[in-house]
Symmetry: C2
Subunit: 317 residues, 2 copies
Amino acid sequence: MAPLGEKSLIERIRRRVRAGSAVVNGIGDDSAVLRVPAGHELLVTTDFTLENVHFRRQWHPPEVVGWRCLTRGLSDIAAMGGEPRAAFLSLALDGRTPQKWVNGFFDGLLEAASEFGLPLAGGDTAQSAGGIQADIVVVGSVPNGKAVLRSGARTADGVYVTGELGGSAAALAQLHTGKARPADYPRHFHPVARIAVGQWLQRRGLASGMIDISDGLSTDLEHICEESGVGAEIAGAAIPRARVGHRAQQVGLDLALHGGEDYELLFTSAKKIPAQVAGVPVTRIGRITRKRRMVLTEDDGARRTLEVRGWEHFKGN
Amino acid sequence: MAPLGEKSLIERIRRRVRAGSAVVNGIGDDSAVLRVPAGHELLVTTDFTLENVHFRRQWHPPEVVGWRCLTRGLSDIAAMGGEPRAAFLSLALDGRTPQKWVNGFFDGLLEAASEFGLPLAGGDTAQSAGGIQADIVVVGSVPNGKAVLRSGARTADGVYVTGELGGSAAALAQLHTGKARPADYPRHFHPVARIAVGQWLQRRGLASGMIDISDGLSTDLEHICEESGVGAEIAGAAIPRARVGHRAQQVGLDLALHGGEDYELLFTSAKKIPAQVAGVPVTRIGRITRKRRMVLTEDDGARRTLEVRGWEHFKGN
């Protein structure tokens, strides 16, 4: 199959662009023109999806790569309590990218876009010098002054997470040694950005600090602690661990603590949060402390320092 | 020199970020938070800068790569008549990128940002699987309904260009065979986005259609003709050809017609435009026709079809 030329790629994108209320003028001009609701601030996030860094062609079907590519950006908007408004895709393909791959990639990306009513409003295309490189930009909005930052956590706030952790890293571990059926690892192959939960918390002013778990709980909790000038105490037993594989086995604590790309939300709150928000389970896993260190308490009451083992792509676990 | 880890790169970017009036919250959260002036629409553009596609390390000093990287985005905002508000950089580096290169790249990029009072407000960093990959996002604004599109050219409008053409392509031609001193090829090594000209035209409602010349006059004029449903007649002798090299020789007509990356503006207008706008020369090179074809008239009055020879990176001329 012939690789796509830049022009045919742009045409292809253009045909598949969905009109959206925020987009005044989309693909086909020097810039896209967007409208932001009055009284709203703008959110902008950009995220790379690079072949052999964020995905491997033999591991990830193109639909999965496209879906996850957009989800990375959506999840950042969710973590601010925002509403996604438009997406922009920069895509570089090398000479050996089959058209079928590109079609599958767009199917996945546009399926995720359609799930959130989001138009693909522009981007860039290029010939890559080797491998597939995508950069996704998601523009969102949030009422003035209402964005939930990482820096708002306060001493004695509870620490909460949505969903379950470690499922995505477990899939990668499995892929290193064999096959992983997408149905057995939904959070890796089909993560859904927690937009509704983020907005629910933002509208009620319930989250003092928030981040999405893209690098792993320990790393992302450290970001909140650093930006807020606080520490945290986490109960190992409270962390909701993903069930994966055809036997639905719970992942080990290490994967739940340090595994990345779950795209769940990690947030802090002075208030009690319901056990389910917008249909997604929410679990209290610990509390914010004045003392600026991170502590993990174990089942037997032992306390140890929670190490930050920032998850690195494909480096195993 | 050791390559930069992602974390130190983010720290480095953060230290160099300039506060800007549009940026409420910049690097260091899940998304940047921006404010757009009331009554303004938003402009968003993304552009790749890929090693061995858009630049070569042995040809382009890192400061030049950084400067040109941001200029690509700024030029798209200029072509809409907009005001740039914030920039976002996604940057992937491979293991053999020296810290000195990264520093130089940021020096160039931030120099261009500072020239236009633009903050670098966020982005992404990653380890690349090979080569340097950058994607620049520029967010701008324009009063509601005032963005100058490619689709507004009307029959009998004059066709205008800013500055001179072909200088950037001439530098590439020279680099293929030998050395090119940056001082001899300013439009290649140090192109300046025509923001002020674009805004001047937009405020006065003088430009009916506009695009920046990034792919070459013939290709970019075709974009205007296609989007506007018109044709054009260009006088070869009227095209301002760049003077390059230490003897300040005029480039050939082919480079001026088809050479890319000059980042000049190409626009159409029903009104007479001054010979100089915001300190930049403006030249009338032809007119828009009802008949949907592009014609080049030569010195002796001969007319031939203006071929679209979309300039391709590094393919020579």
